[in-house]
């Protein structure tokens, strides 16, 4: 397959591997449905021109669905009513294209696919032609003074929310956590709602988390509740005393409170600082809370060795805008969001098509914990830090102790996060290892290690 993707490479875009296509699927159901449509049966008028793939898919209705994919984006359009993105037709067509060249012949886009593709390409050219900063200027609000006042008012509201929350936390500690045991969510929900009103979504979600810890009934709930309260208190205090914090730490506090930074500003604004590197995709993970899909893509720079996390959000008709299967290397510019320990980044210009990358080098268990500890010095709210572990062996749970990843020397081990143990990925990890050392990427945190990708030797998402 590797041979093929090189052979079929063309100036506009390489033919994808099927694994790449499958990684685009928003969920398992789509993967299934797409797989079913990856057969020539329902398709007609299929074609590809290097940058795009199109086809008509016979559905239940009279008129076939028109599916068009711009593989340089990638971007998708389909006349089906599905709210999944990409829909099963797009996935099926891409699988067909990736699997068997003959069923999707090269050609020129037909009438029904042309305009959309032309529009995409025009937009891409315009974007490329726009000088850096030009785009930023267009977004500058007409009245900078009004915008500044708005921002100030928001900070004031957050500050009053934080003060109120401090009061709430101090009350809780004065009367004792016992009073909160098994307590109703309502109290917490009310407080969370007050924080939403105060335009501090970061505080609101932490308050909700407190509620679930208090109601969890786990044996260690008092300790966990105290720790979460203390970190929330730390965040409140950080925000209220932000004037006295070093600028990077103040930026971390702002981000954790829920104040956003415009990605375009980061990439092209007056203070834009991008990092160009060959970024290896370590993991791509989607989570869904019912309304919103969050896609987390972890990257590591080959030259800089820096970790980066790209977030995108979909749902409510808004598609996820980026799909990068693990294992690809991306020559691109990244711009880190400001903070004391930058991790989140925006993706800027891509200098070359993504290509398959190597198995990443990694560290041992000691170094992984040290990396998390080190990161905590800069950002005390970090739950975990991304690391690549090399030569670790999954050790099965035995009488009471959970699963571990053991170092090559066989002495040190990192427990797996208990939340990972119920997942199917655990057994995939065990099966791939077969008792032998493997390279694993994941998040190393205070509750243990959450594996996200294992190399076999091609990356497998867990």
């Amino acid at each position: 397959m590797a041979g093929r993707s090189v052979e079929d490479m063309n100036p506009q875009g390489e033919r994808w591997t099927t694994d790449q296509v499958l990684a685009l699927a928003p969920d398992d159901a789509s993967r299934k449905a797409g797989g079913k449509l990856a057969a020539p049966g329902p398709w007609s008028e299929t074609g590809a021109d290097g940058g795009a793939v199109w086809g008509l898919c016979k559905g239940s209705g009279k008129k076939p669905y028109q599916t068009v994919i711009d593989v340089t984006g990638p971007a998708f359009t389909c006349s089906c009513p599905s709210r999944k993105f990409p829909c099963k037709h797009a996935l099926g067509l891409l699988l067909l294209w990736a699997g068997e060249g003959e069923t999707v012949p090269a050609g020129a886009p037909p009438e029904w696919a042309g305009p959309w593709l032309a529009g995409r390409r025009e937009k891409a050219e315009r974007a490329a032609a726009t000088p850096a900063g030009g785009g930023g200027a267009a977004r500058t609000p007409s009245d900078p003074e009004a915008a500044r006042r708005r921002a100030e008012r928001r900070l004031e509201r957050i500050a009053s929310g934080a003060t109120e929350l401090e009061q709430r936390l101090e009350d809780l500690l004065r009367t004792g956590l016992t009073a909160a045991e098994g307590g109703s969510y309502r109290q917490w929900d009310e407080t969370a709602a007050r924080m939403v009103d105060a335009q501090a979504p970061g505080l609101a979600s932490r308050v909700r988390e407190l509620g679930s810890v208090a109601a969890s009934g786990a044996a260690d709930w008092p300790a966990r509740l105290l720790a979460e309260c203390a970190l929330l208190h730390l965040l409140d205090q950080g925000f209220l005393g932000r004037e006295r914090l070093p600028a990077p730490l103040a930026a971390t506090v702002r981000a954790r409170i829920g104040l956003t930074t415009d990605a375009a500003e980061l990439l092209t604004g007056p203070e834009a600082a991008t990092v160009r590197d060959r970024w290896l995709v370590l993991a791509q993970q989607d989570s869904d809370d019912g309304r919103l899909t969050t896609r987390r893509i972890f990257l590591r720079g080959e030259r800089t060795g820096r970790m980066a996390l790209h977030l995108s959000f979909g749902g409510g008709g808004r598609p996820l805008d980026l799909a990068l299967p693990p294992g690809l290397v991306l020559d691109a510019d990244l711009a880190y969001y400001p903070g004391a320990r930058p991790l989140r980044a925006a993706l800027g210009e891509r200098h070359a098509p993504a290509a398959p990358g190597p198995v990443p080098p990694g560290c041992g268990v000691d170094a992984a914990l040290a990396a998390y500890g080190d990161a905590l010095r800069d950002d005390p709210w970090l739950e975990s830090w991304p690391v690549v572990l090399a030569d670790v062996t999954p050790v099965p749970a035995r009488d009471g102790s959970g699963w571990q990843l053991a170092d090559a020397d066989g002495e040190s081990a990192l427990p797996l996060d208990p939340r990972f143990l119920g997942r199917a990925g655990l057994w995939q990890l065990a099966a791939i290892s077969g008792g032998a050392p493997v390279t694993v990427f994941g998040e190393c945190g205070h509750r243990g290690f959450v594996p996200l990708t294992v190399w076999d030797p091609t990356p497998v998402s867990l």
């Binding site: 398992d28 049966g41 329902p42 956590l177 970190l231 077969g434 008792g435």
Partner: protein, 566 residues
């Protein structure tokens, strides 16, 4: 400290490896680092509340005790998190045995993952035009078995889950999954079934390890022993019998029955003395099975005894012309019973007919030539039979032909498929004869040809079970006649789901090469006069699905040969 995932190697008061973090609280509030109180003290103070107990933390001027407690807890939390140490490693699992088989070609690997992801999908909804992947998984597994690939580790959990849910998939799924799946199954109780030995020969010790064979036979679980015996029979029939003989007398009756059944594999006259002995077994079921196995050996002493009894019942009379005369046995004596004749008929059947049927079934068919003065099977079957015994007699010969795998007799009993009376003749009223079973006695291509002619003459309504015993993919002209019959059924205007059984079989069994011919049937046709409303569209849909499935199967096979996508 319970939130800590790792057990510190040193005692609880771990000295942080890194300096305590500079926290905003520290930067904003506390200029001096306070002496750190133990985390447990902070937790118990928080539990009780600062109203009741003064927390063991220093207060800044103007600060409430609860705020000071929160400050201290924040510092302590971050400090503990930053100072986590690795835990001592638990005992590592023994590595999984090496699996030297080659990996799946990438395209086949992806196909398998799609097929596994689709398990349990579908539900009760109308099938539409897309192939039913659930039915393709068994095919894929069977085809993969011929190639001798090893399953990718990432798919082993799904493969084991699939095998857990569907016992029919187990042998092929576990063969593909190989030794690593057994290794994995030991770690997860959900997959215990895999350890009970469906793994074919993979789990059976080789001929170079006679001790291993003996130990497994003596200490293994029942299913492990059955699969060991079956595998050993295939490798060395005499050794298998020898192994069984060593413990035979000590086995429980139901186990003896299953072990005896395993001897069907590679049955030969060498097994006769053992089986003859089993005719005196304590268990009636064991005796009956031994008798059945012996009668499948036409040269056995039991077969000769049955032949003697059977020929005493039939004769050739010469009325106006030759006629078969029938004299059923008067009693079921001890000798007959020992040879496996069940004495008590099911309700509604006469005792004589019941006994006669069993004698005829067990008597070697080649003996009838002499009884009927040199006539061959076809001529014997053409003879008139006295006193309404014809159906009874022919049914018994059908069972005998199946048991003795006698193709000449089966051919004669099946007759000409296209004969107008065949549909009724093959299974006359009151007959219990099983045409599909009889067909299995014929060589595969002859079987396919017979069914093809049958369908051409009589349509699909009675053909489902016959199609089920034909070799896959269907050899021509069978495939063509099924397609033609479906086309005719469409023109007759009925709904396709009246033929869903045959359609499902066709998806699995038609040669993928038939797809091109079927393509022209996928167009929506003018509905014939009097057709069921909408049937044309449904037929088109059904044919689209059939074509799609066939193409997918062709792709699957190509992928397994490494021909596509790699």
């Amino acid at each position: 400290m319970t939130t800590t995932p790792t057990t510190p190697r040193t005692t609880s008061s771990t000295t942080p490896r890194t300096a305590p973090p500079t926290t905003p609280a520290a930067a904003a509030a506390a200029p001096k680092a306070p002496p750190a109180p133990a985390w447990e003290e902070l937790v118990s103070a928080a539990l009780l509340g600062t109203d009741r107990r003064t927390p063991p933390v220093p207060l800044r001027p103007g600060q409430s005790p609860s705020a000071a407690l929160l400050d201290a807890a924040a510092v302590s939390t971050v400090r503990r998190r930053a100072a986590l140490r690795p835990a001592p490693a638990g005992e590592r699992p023994a590595p999984a045995p090496a699996d030297p088989r080659p990996p799946l070609p990438p395209a086949a690997r992806r196909r398998l993952s799609l097929l596994l992801a689709d398990r349990g999908g579908g539900g009760g909804s109308r099938r539409g035009t897309t192939p039913d992947l659930t039915e393709l998984l068994p095919q894929w597994l069977a085809a993969a078995q011929d190639h001798g690939y090893r399953a990718p580790g990432a798919l082993l959990p799904a493969l084991l889950d699939a095998a857990r849910a569907r016992t029919d998939l187990r042998p092929a799924a576990l063969a593909l999954a190989g030794p690593r799946a057994l290794w994995l199954a030991r770690l997860n109780d959900d997959w215990k079934f895999a350890l009970r030995g469906f793994g074919g020969t993979a789990a059976v010790p080789g001929p170079e390890a006679p001790e291993g064979v003996r130990r497994l036979w003596e200490e293994g679980l029942f299913a492990e022993r059955v699969s060991l015996l079956t595998a050993l029979r295939r490798r060395d029939a005499a050794a298998g019998l020898g192994l069984l003989a060593t413990t035979w007398a000590a086995e429980r009756a139901e186990d003896r029955l299953m072990f005896l059944d395993a001897l069907r594999e590679c049955l030969s006259s060498a097994d006769e003395p053992f089986l003859e002995q089993a005719l005196s077994d304590r268990s009636r079921n064991v005796r009956a099975t031994a008798a059945e196995l012996l009668s499948a050996l036409p040269g056995s002493a039991l077969a000769a005894r049955m032949a003697r009894r059977a020929t005493a019942c039939l004769g050739l009379g010469h009325g106006p012309g030759p006629v078969i005369t029938v004299e059923p046995p008067r009693e079921c004596d001890a000798g007959m019973e020992r040879d496996g004749v069940a004495p008590k008929p099911p309700s509604g059947r006469g005792r004589g007919a019941w006994w006669l049927g069993q004698l005829l079934e067990a008597a070697p068919l080649h003996g009838w030539r002499a009884v009927f003065e040199g006539r061959g099977p076809a001529e014997i079957l053409a003879l008139p039979v006295a006193d309404d015994w014809r159906t009874e007699l022919h049914d018994a010969w059908c069972r005998a032909a199946v048991r003795q795998r006698d193709a000449t007799w089966a051919r004669a009993l099946l007759g000409t498929p296209a004969a107008p009376a065949q549909a009724t003749e093959a299974a006359p009223t009151g007959s219990s004869r099983d045409v599909a079973k009889l067909l299995t006695v014929l060589p595969e291509d002859e079987r396919a040809a017979w069914v093809a002619q049958f369908i051409a003459a009589h349509g699909l309504s009675d053909a489902f079970r016959m199609l089920g015993v034909c070799g896959v993919p269907w050899a021509e002209p069978l495939g063509r006649s099924v397609v033609d019959a479906l086309d005719i059924a469409r023109d007759a205007g009925s709904y396709p789901w009246s033929f869903s059984g045959v359609m499902g079989l066709a998806e699995r069994c038609l040669d993928p090469a038939a797809a091109d011919r079927l393509d022209m049937l996928t167009a929506v046709t003018e509905e014939p006069e009097g057709a069921s409303p909408g049937s044309g569209g449904y037929w088109s849909e059904a044919f689209v699905r059939l074509v799609g499935t066939l193409r997918l199967r062709a792709t699957m096979h190509a992928e397994l040969s490494g021909g596509a996508g790699s």
